[in-house]
């Protein structure tokens, strides 16, 4: 009986501490997500990427820290004016995203980033790279849509690429409009599974539509 009590005690302690750890994780993640809203410079992005990587390093089994680190690294590549570094950032993003993918296979959000990564590669030198990256980019977005048809982010990014593609290749503002509309509809209906799941894209898309499609 006494033994049973000790085991029970131990078990409760474990639960409590685990819960405490989870709280710590949630708090740290929420704090980072909050900071992501105000980041502006490359240095801000690197800071936050490192912060996610530290969480990832401590947690080991959580995919979201790797996911956000990868997302931020792609953003850094798009933001950093030093063209020589752009591919290097993306090489890093590939590595972190691979870890996220192994921890959470068949996750729609991860496939969104896979496509986003190819878009980043493509943007560095579109003329010479479209042959290599266009197809895998679209395949990744398609897979993201299949895995979660309600996810608004694949269409948001497809819309952006379409917007900046010349009209004779099937792009342009007009072609992008219906894709943006569909994405926005999904954004408005989208309910993230929990408070740490990705929500990015909605504000950016609304802002983009306001600027480029004046009523």
């Amino acid at each position: 009986m006494k033994n049973a009590a000790a085991i029970l005690l131990g078990f409760f302690c474990l639960v409590t501490f685990t819960r405490a750890d989870d709280t710590k994780y949630t708090e740290a993640m929420k704090n980072n997500l909050e900071q992501m809203k105000s980041m502006q410079t490359v240095q801000d992005m690197v800071d936050l990427t490192n912060s996610y990587l530290r969480i990832a390093n401590a947690e080991k089994t959580k995919w979201l820290p790797y996911y956000y680190a990868s997302y931020l690294t792609i953003l850094t590549s798009l933001t950093d004016p030093d063209a020589a570094k752009k591919d290097t950032y993306l090489d890093e993003a590939v590595k972190t995203l691979a870890v996220a993918d192994s921890l959470q296979p068949n996750e729609s959000e991860i496939y969104v980033l896979k496509g986003f990564l190819f878009a980043g590669r493509l943007q560095i030198d579109p003329m010479n790279r479209y042959m290599q990256y266009l197809q895998p980019m679209n395949e990744a977005y398609e897979k993201a849509k299949v895995l979660d048809p309600k996810n608004p982010r694949p269409e948001y990014l497809v819309g952006m690429t379409t917007f900046y593609t010349p009209e004779q290749f099937g792009g342009g503002a007009k072609a992008a409009k219906s894709i943006f509309e569909s994405s926005l509809k999904k954004f408005n209906e989208f309910i993230p599974k929990d408070e740490l799941m990705p929500t990015w894209g909605k504000d950016q898309l609304e802002q983009f539509i306001k600027q480029n499609y004046p009523q």
């Binding site: 409760f12 740290a28 490192n50 530290r54 020589a84 003329m127 690429t161 010349p166 004779q168 072609a175």
Partner: protein, 712 residues
């Protein structure tokens, strides 16, 4: 109750933990003491850490205590890990990170070579550049706009730095191509046999190439075919002189494609005034098939088979019996196949390949029936392994069996050559800024019954972020050509020593390269096989006593930044060369070399008309030609060569499919180029060697069906 006790314990510990807080601060630098901003410094298995600031400084607090592991990581540097005994209060730690040597960061040895690739960084050309340069969409035409290549109009081939066409070899997927060009008739060049669209990577070496390749005294053109085609697609091509079609089917791990075309220049030759007296204009049937199978994660099986058959006949001027002409008929038939498998097994990168080619020429020259058959079977393997952080080792071997079977009327000559070679090469990285490639190649030829050993070494030293110096030395052997081998059995290998030094700057949008070289030829074959076109010269006995040299300067400049939306490149080559070989009675500047070659390529994408426009201008100073009336051998020179060509590709979408309309004109300005002169045997009559037409134009429509538009 018990639960409370547990919480109570935790609560009891909390103030203790807060009290134990430590502040860790310091500075992080690289091994040259420059600050590293953006590095991640943290304690292993905790959330505690910080990113270093602009000046490399960092500072963070932790509640951990006792022995922990402090980690610092930064892209391109080795991870720093150190045990740390945390003490209450302030701790100061300065960290120095060691640069990580990786193939990605390290300087790339690039003496003597131009590379076109989508995958690698720091390359000078993109595969698209190869397709859109010049008027003919021919691989070799665009390579002729690079420094080191000589403009020779009357025959096909790559003439590199004073070398003859036979000194340049084309290599597809690691294996030598016996006949990269269609067979040609005297003074009329033919095109390359392989479409430039097939290749995803091109390395054009103008000297000092790797020990993995051999049998080319001057130059190696190393081509890699596409791995997996991206998608299922059908293509239809209609051109002014023919039509063709291709279909590619892509499955998850398998791809298959089939391509066919029929070309006939007769209608075209009737429209454009020909300087050639055609009997039957050139026509050909081309068929090819490609197969790809993924056998494991990294294992890829590739197979390529091509067949073509062509036909032409014409009347060549007979200067000894004007106005008589000589009938000449050529019917070549070629089969080329290449099967290879590449995989990663453990730490090993393995490659194995097999290639079979059969090239048959049926010639009727003034009623004489000539047949020339050449069959090549070759196999090659290479293995590559990272030995340690700084050394990558590659080794391999290859065997070629070539069977020559020539018939001149009733006279038949056969020659069976077995060529065996082995090589080993190390890529050594002393640091990210200093790398060397050290290789050795050993070869044996059955016909010559001799061995050779060829050392190759090259270095690259990075000066700054964008520029580097390269040096290369190498020895290159080549077995003499068949026409000599069937005449005499005591030849030795021809060989050449290359010494190359270059400076190169590859910036974001600008590239500059200057290269000097010296090439020393030994044991070039000597002997008179034919007296045409060098009539009344003394007959040179067969020997391996020929010699020669080539030295010069190659300059390349590419800029896609200064003029908006435009990209241009300029090449200049200075060449000084002399050789005594073949039937040359003395040392002479050869007929296939120009002292000065200059070219400029200009490209622009016009968004408004969705067209891509490219202009190419080539200037080459006059080349020597043989005049029997001049006592000085090859003492006469032609006027300089000039050519301005343009091409425009219009991209259109018809019924949801992409189409390209390609239009090009060669020699827009109508420069009267003369490649040389041919003389009658008494030297009294001469005839200029001219391009087949003054100007030429090409129009083609390329339609792709099934290229899915992902946005609709």
């Amino acid at each position: 109750m018990k639960m409370n006790r547990c919480l109570f314990l935790a609560a009891l510990m909390l103030p203790f933990l807060i009290n134990a807080q430590t502040r860790i601060s310091g500075k992080i630098t690289d091994d040259k003491n420059s600050p590293l901003p953006g590095a991640n410094i943290y304690i292993k298995d905790t959330y505690d850490g910080v990113t270093s600031k602009e000046d490399g400084s960092f500072s963070f607090r932790t509640n951990e205590k006792g022995e922990v592991i402090l980690i610092a990581s930064f892209v391109g540097y080795k991870k720093y890990e150190s045990k740390l005994n945390l003490k209450k209060g302030e701790m100061k730690i300065d960290i120095s990170l060691e640069e990580e040597i990786t193939q990605m960061n390290a300087v790339v040895v690039s003496a003597g070579s131009f590379e076109a690739s989508d995958e690698k960084k720091g390359v000078i050309l993109k595969p698209l550049d190869v397709v859109t340069t010049g008027a003919t969409a021919d691989l070799y035409t665009s390579l002729n706009t690079l420094p080191g290549a000589q403009k020779v109009g009357e025959t096909e081939g790559l003439f590199v730095r004073g070398g003859s066409a036979s000194e340049a070899k084309t290599i597809i997927d690691e294996m030598i191509v016996q006949k990269p060009f269609s067979s040609s008739v005297p003074d009329l060049p033919s095109r390359g046999r392989f479409s430039p669209m097939m290749f995803k990577g091109t390395v054009f070496s103008t000297g000092g190439y790797s020990a993995q390749y051999g049998q080319a005294l001057s130059s190696a053109l190393i081509l890699k075919t596409e791995d997996m085609p991206k998608q299922t697609i059908t293509a239809i091509n209609t051109m002014v002189f023919g039509f063709g079609g291709a279909h590619t089917q892509r499955w998850e791990n398998t791809a298959f494609s089939f391509e066919g075309g029929y070309y006939n220049l007769n209608p075209y030759n009737n429209v454009f005034k020909q300087r050639v007296d055609w009997d039957r204009s050139p026509s050909s049937i081309d068929l090819s098939t490609n197969f790809r199978q993924k056998l494991s994660k990294n294992g890829l099986l590739k197979a390529f088979v091509s067949y073509n058959k062509s036909d032409l006949s014409l009347y060549l001027p007979d200067l000894d019996n004007i106005p008589n002409k000589t009938y000449y008929e050529m019917k070549p038939e070629n089969i080329y196949s290449n099967v290879s498998y590449r995989d990663i097994v453990g730490d090993w990168n393995l490659f194995g390949g097999f290639s079979y080619s059969l090239d048959k020429d049926r010639i009727n020259a003034a009623g004489n029936n000539i047949s020339q058959d050449q069959r090549l079977v070759q196999t090659k393997f290479t293995a590559n392994k990272k030995l340690n952080e700084n050394i990558y080792l590659t080794f391999g071997a290859e065997v070629h069996n070539t069977l020559y079977d020539d018939t001149y009327n009733q006279l038949n000559i056969k020659l069976n050559e077995v060529y065996t070679a082995g090589f080993a090469e190390g890529d050594i990285y002393f640091s990210n800024d200093l790398a060397a490639k050290v290789g050795i190649r050993a070869e044996h030829s059955k016909v010559l019954n001799k061995f050779n050993i060829a050392p190759r070494i090259s270095f690259a030293y990075r000066l700054g972020k964008y520029d580097q110096l390269n040096f290369a030395y190498g020895r290159f052997y080549q077995t003499p050509e068949k026409n000599f081998l069937i005449q005499y059995d005591k030849f030795d290998y021809e060989n050449a020593d290359h010494y190359i030094a270059n400076y190169q700057y590859i910036g974001e949008n600008r590239t500059f390269r200057a290269e000097i070289y010296y090439k020393q030829y030994h044991n070039l074959v000597k002997g008179t096989v034919y007296n045409y076109p060098y009539f009344n010269l003394p007959v040179v006995p067969f020997s391996s006593d020929g010699k020669g040299y080539a030295k010069g300067l190659d300059i390349f400049w590419r800029d896609s930044w200064t003029i908006r939306n435009c990209d241009y490149w300029i090449s200049y080559s200075y060449l000084d060369t002399k050789r005594e070989y073949s039937n040359y009675p003395t040392m002479a500047f050869p007929t296939f070399a120009s002292p000065h070659t200059f070219s400029i390529v200009f490209k622009r994408w016009f968004e408004s008309i969705s067209s891509f426009v490219a202009l190419t201008y080539v200037h080459a100073s006059g080349r020597p030609y043989f005049n029997p009336n001049n006592p000085e051998f090859l003492g006469d020179h032609t006027d300089s060569y000039n050519n301005l060509s343009a091409n425009i590709s219009y991209v259109a979408r018809w019924f949801g499919s992409y189409s390209v309309i390609f239009f090009s004109i060669d020699n827009i300005a109508g420069f009267a180029n003369v490649y040389g002169y041919r003389y009658s045997s008494d030297g009294k009559i001469s005839n200029p060697v001219l391009p087949a037409t003054l100007r030429s134009a090409f129009l083609g429509v390329f339609i792709s069906i099934g290229e899915e538009n992902p946005y609709q």
